[in-house]
Structures are given as structure tokens and as C-alpha cells.
Symmetry: C2
Subunit: 103 residues, 2 copies
């Protein structure tokens, strides 16, 4: 099992987190992860008509901003929302974004 | 007096607001406006070493996202934060961002 939560020990930056959240697809992914816990592969965007390379790009932006963690299991990434880390660093921010997201 | 709050009647969009806030200079402007009320010209970035065209660019992004309103008085723009509109549309979001901004 390989750990892809590369930025786990790096400090979360407000402007980087806000940028990562400033896209409807990435908001959809974050909302799905908040609702359903960890999701395998690109399940969070399964209902959306998005090329695989674009899906991968969106997940990378979220991972590099520290919003999600990913680990590899077999041929798949398992993604989870780093809610506890985000809540500790930026109290109220993720909840405010999720509250206001219309999926 | 000319009103530059061009998007005043357009719906605020979450991803557009988050994008506009995803920059340290724009966060600084929003924080200054929240603290000091309306500010003339580019007073909010007076302490920062930023070219005038770049200042103008940042204000435009904020205005087009609906985060600030601007009106012209003489040779200057007067900028104000559209806090009431933002709070009504996205409850808790601006407060969470301001709370977590370290100027």
C-alpha cells in the first residue's frame, strides 16, 4: 500500500485550499467524499461526463492542496477527505463551503 | 457618480467567489475592507509593493465575482465589501474566510 498523501505534513495554505475548491467538479468531489466517506478510483465523478485525464487533474489539485488524501490499493486510488486536518487549521471553512454547495 | 457594481443583480456563484478569494493580495483587500469599511482608490493595498495594473486586476476579479462594489468619485474608485449580499447567499462563508486569514 503506497501513501499518496504527499502534503500531509506540509502546512495547509488558505489561498491554495480556496483555489482547489473554486471549481464545480472539485466541489462535487469534496461534497461526495464528505457525504459518503472514502471512495475508490474516480467514483465521486462517476455521474459526470469527464475525461479520465481531467478527473485525474482535479484529484491532483485537491490532493496537492491538502484537501484529500489518497492511497493506492491494487489498480485504484482510495480517496478520503482530510476533514479533521482542515477543520483544525481553518475552523468553519469546509463546513461553510459544503453548506453552500448545490450539487 | 458612476456605479461599477456591475454584477449586483447577477447571482453570486460559489466557485467564482472562492476563486476570487484564492489569492493573498485579494484576501488582503477583502480583509482590509471588512475591517475599515469603504476604502478609496487602492488604499487597501497601499502597504504592498504591487504595480498599479496588478492592483487594478485584483480589484476587477473581486468586483466581477460580486465580492466588492465600486463607485467612481472624482478620479478615484470607492470600494466596499458586499458583505450583506454574500452572507445572505453563502451563510458563514465570508466570516470563515476572514477568521482564517492571517494578514
Amino acid at each position: 500500500m503506497e501513501d499518496y498523501a504527499l502534503r500531509k505534513t506540509l502546512p495547509l495554505k488558505l489561498e491554495v485550499v480556496l483555489y482547489a475548491l473554486s471549481d464545480p467538479v472539485r466541489l462535487h468531489i469534496v461534497h461526495s467524499l464528505a457525504k459518503r466517506g472514502e471512495l475508490a478510483c474516480y467514483a465521486a465523478v462517476a455521474g459526470l461526463d469527464i475525461a479520465k485525464s481531467t478527473q485525474s487533474h482535479h484529484y491532483r489539485i485537491l490532493r496537492e492542496a491538502g484537501i484529500i488524501a489518497q492511497r493506492k490499493e491494487g489498480v485504484c486510488f482510495i480517496s478520503t477527505l482530510r476533514k479533521a486536518d482542515l477543520d483544525a487549521r481553518f475552523p468553519g471553512l469546509l463546513d461553510a463551503v459544503l453548506l453552500n454547495f448545490q450539487s
